[in-house]
């Protein structure tokens, strides 16, 4: 069942089109990774799902309810961590966490205490003295301490140190075990790779790819590295192969996933002594999307 579902979601700010027909689905019990560069529309999509922004056209539904009209009903069942956490300078972290938990409706003191200890936050300090990471912790603790069915996290680890980032990942793993749904927006690809069941890639207000990581991997090329006894020739003539690096007895290739068999057949005749192939990681996937079709990165790499 889809917990979050948008259909042709479009959001315009004046003449600027921030979201252009977004189709997104987060299923029950899955961790969905929402990735894309800055300004691609991740936060706008999330704010529309929260009913803070109203869709220009298309629909945004959470738990089958309209994100704009039924905002309060929806919010009773979700927890949210914004990307840029701005707090009240003259309130302490402890006060803010309590307020947030209270506004959510439930009150779990032991969990609050445990999380504050885990994230090593001093709740008696005024928010103005907190660093970006500490403000992020306040929002994270408040979100994780409250009971929710769906967690919407907008770049939740920005500003956290690696130790805290690790801790955060454990918390998400726990949520996953409890079969909670998570929408995790991020541009830290290793994080998404570790945590997410499925990912959606957004660029310039459009979803350009969705699917499980293995789905997406089929779409791109595998890295292949080998050494042979005899001198290798004619690699360039093979279909679906790009030669990255070639010496007399060794080569590094990028191979379209459909052509792996042909390449293997071809190279065995040179007496292979060593073969190493690695699936593309998310970073490669991401880069291929941004350097391939007119993204800004192609010029950058050239």
């Amino acid at each position: 069942m889809a917990i979050v579902e948008t259909k042709e979601l479009t959001k315009k700010f004046g003449k600027f089109t921030a979201l252009n027909g977004i189709n997104l689905e987060v299923r029950e019990g899955e961790v969905f990774g929402f990735i894309g560069p800055n300004g691609a529309g991740k936060t706008t999509t999330i704010r529309t799902l929260l009913g803070i922004l109203q869709a220009t056209t298309g629909s945004a539904q959470v738990f089958g309810m309209d994100a704009w009209k039924d905002a309060v009903e929806i919010h009773k069942r979700i927890a949210y961590v914004p990307g840029d956490v701005n707090l009240w300078s003259n309130l302490t972290g402890g006060e803010v966490i309590d307020l947030f938990i209270k506004l959510k409706g439930n009150n779990n003191h032991t969990r609050r205490k445990k999380l504050i200890e885990m994230f090593d936050l001093d709740p008696s300090k005024k928010c103005r003295t907190y660093s970006k990471g500490n403000r992020q912790k306040v929002a994270l603790i408040a979100a994780l301490a409250s009971d929710a069915e769906l967690y919407i996290l907008d770049e939740p680890t920005s500003g956290l140190d690696p130790l805290m980032e690790n801790l955060f990942q454990q918390c998400i793993m726990e949520l996953k075990e409890q079969e909670k749904s998570v929408l995790l927006s991020s541009h830290i690809l290793s994080e998404v790779e570790q945590l997410c069941d499925r990912v959606g890639i957004i660029r310039q207000g459009k979803i350009i790819e969705t699917g499980t990581l293995s789905d997406l991997r089929h779409l791109t090329r595998i890295n292949m590295e080998f050494e042979t006894k005899q001198t290798v020739e004619g690699l360039n003539t093979l279909a679906g192969v790009t030669v990255v690096n070639q010496g007399d007895n060794k080569a590094t290739l990028k191979v379209d996933s459909g052509e792996i068999g042909n390449v293997l057949n071809y190279i065995t005749r040179f007496d292979v002594v060593k073969l190493n192939s690695t699936p593309p990681n998310l970073e490669d996937l991401f880069m291929s999307h941004y350097s391939g079709n007119g993204g800004g990165l192609s010029e950058w790499n050239a």
Binding site: A71, V72, H75, P82, N86, W88, G94, D98, L99
Partner: protein, 533 residues
């Protein structure tokens, strides 16, 4: 060293670039009003006899408390009249401009993390403060010269070059003084709100001290810089000596600010931070609780401030009464009705001014919501189980409660002080009614603010403009005989002036209905629009 110096120039340029809209608007208003008023005076009080009649009003202690000492009463020229009626309020406006200006470019930039970026560049530690103060010097000198030149250019007989320049200099020097005060508080306080608040508090205290001093104690007035600068007697005796004295005091305050700035860490103040509560109290557990917590200090400060404002007006009532007792001619001349004493009639005028003062916290309480939205903090609440109407209500309800409390506190201060000094005290209920009748006008201002935030959030500042407009038309409207329709553009002008007027329930009901309509449209608009931030 030379490079650092150049960079200070660049920072100053940056300030002027950022100020390219605001400061010119202030200049147009300040210089414009300074020049327009004498022209109007010339029209309205063209003969010496007209002006002599005005002297009788201006001599009374209540007017002196409000406007400062009266000089040149024997030969009340247009120039003397201008200084008497305009100087204090123009100085206050210039002070407000300077306080906002300096805090904006020092503590607020620091709070927003902008100074951190600047500091990482090859500039000295004092660069931001010195750029802000340098810009303040330029602005105030320019204001003094423009006002002086503009007034001279009017060619009014009693307003010569020296007097005009002195009038201008009073504005410039006072402006610099408050720029220095704001710079000092920007070092002491950690927040820009605190720095602005303390600076305004000092301005208010100085105004009140000099009011007391002007009536009863010349020495007191001379100790207070705001009082001292009023002793310049421009267009009459043209006493220049207070100008350098205030400049020296300004310099001392500014140097203290620079010293403190060089001593402290970035982002810190001199008021030490105590550890706060680890958990939220029972009051801070709802969106209403949060808005109360955010507005609490503002609320308390205004309760104290308005009580003192009421009390300071009240404290001159005794003198006013005595003054009237001894002046039979005036008593007959100005008394419109036998039923009401001069004091009571004076009160009606006070009430409208106090009501507008009490509107400031009410508007600012609603504006706080917009401020929260701009800083992306309403998101925390709206993404939880707080609906937009509940969020807005948190601020709206407090503003409505404040409208009553602020008026009540002011009238209490007025009554307590006045009844202790008057031989025939005015009954509390009579004052109370005269004050509370202004509630519908305050509600319209609240309603307008809700409307703007709901429908035109980008233009929310317009409610301040409208309040400023109301003050000008109602307060100056009578002296300067603005056309009736212009005065009626302000809700405050429609309020019956009790006890002299009869209470008019129809008008009050219509005003209240307008307020309700604004509020309803504002609520609907707020629910329908996107959250910004």
């Amino acid at each position: 060293m030379n490079g650092t110096h150049n960079n200070n120039g660049r920072l100053m340029k940056l300030i002027f670039r950022r100020e390219r809209i605001q400061i010119p608007i202030w200049f147009i208003c300040l210089v414009g009003i300074s020049i327009a008023v004498p022209i109007a005076f010339k029209e309205m009080y063209s003969t010496a006899a007209d002006r002599a009649a005005m002297v009788i009003t201006m001599e009374n202690p209540a007017m002196i408390a409000m406007l400062g000492p009266l000089y040149g009463a024997k030969d009340y020229t247009i120039g003397a009249m201008n200084t008497n009626m305009m100087l204090v309020f123009t100085i206050i406006a210039v002070a407000i401009m300077n306080i906002f200006f300096v805090v904006r470019h020092t503590r607020r930039d620091e709070e927003r993390g902008r100074i951190e970026v600047i500091r990482s560049l090859p500039v000295s530690r004092l660069s931001s403060l010195s750029a802000a103060m340098g810009a303040a010097v330029i602005i105030n000198v320019l204001l003094a010269v423009l006002t002086g030149a503009g007034l001279t250019a009017l060619g009014i007989e009693s307003m010569n070059f020296e007097g005009s320049m002195l009038f201008g200099a009073c504005l410039g020097v006072s402006g610099l003084f408050f720029a220095a005060v704001a710079a000092l508080f920007s070092q002491l306080c950690v927040t820009s709100r605190g720095a602005t608040g303390y600076s305004f508090a000092l301005l208010g205290i100085m105004y009140m001290l000099r009011a007391v001093g002007d009536i009863s104690n010349e020495t007191l007035s001379r100790i207070v810089p705001l009082g001292l600068i009023l002793r310049t007697q421009s267009y009459t005796k043209n006493e220049w000596w207070p100008v350098p004295i205030v400049l020296v005091i300004t310099l001392v305050i500014a140097l203290l600010a620079f010293y403190l700035n060089s001593r402290r860490d970035m982002g810190q103040g001199f008021i030490p931070a105590r550890p706060g509560r680890k958990t939220a109290s029972v009051f801070l557990q709802s969106s209403l609780g949060l808005s109360w917590r955010l507005l609490r200090n503002t609320f308390i400060a205004w309760v104290i401030g308005l009580f003192m404002l009421g009390a300071s007006y009240g404290s001159v009532m005794g003198d006013l009464e005595g003054f009237l007792e001894n002046n039979q001619i005036l008593k007959q001349a100005i008394m419109i009705s036998d039923k009401y004493s001069m004091t009571e009639m004076f009160i009606t005028m006070l009430m409208s001014v106090i009501a507008m003062g009490a509107t400031i916290p009410c508007i600012s309480m609603i504006q706080k919501l917009h401020n929260e939205e701009k800083h992306n903090r309403t998101e925390h609440l709206l993404s939880r189980t707080v609906s937009k109407s509940r969020l807005l209500s948190g601020y709206f309800v407090l503003a409505m409660i404040a409208s009553f409390i602020m008026l009540f506190i002011s009238v209490s201060g007025l009554w307590i002080a006045s009844s202790s000094v008057m031989d025939n005290p005015i009954p509390f209920m009579s004052m109370f009614k005269a004050m509370m009748v202004y509630l519908p006008a305050v509600w319209i201002m609240i309603g307008l603010t809700v409307l703007l935030i709901g429908v035109l959030p980008g233009k929310a500042m317009l409610s301040w403009v409208y309040l400023g407009f109301s003050f000008v038309v109602v307060y100056f409207g009578k002296i300067m005989q603005f056309p009736e329709w212009l005065q009626k553009c302000s809700p405050f002008a429609h309020i019956p002036e009790l006890p002299v007027d009869k209470i008019n329930y129809t008008t009050l009901t219509v005003l209240a209905i307008i307020a309700v309509v604004c509020i309803v449209i504002g609520y609907i608009g707020y629910q329908k629009r996107d959250v910004q931030g």
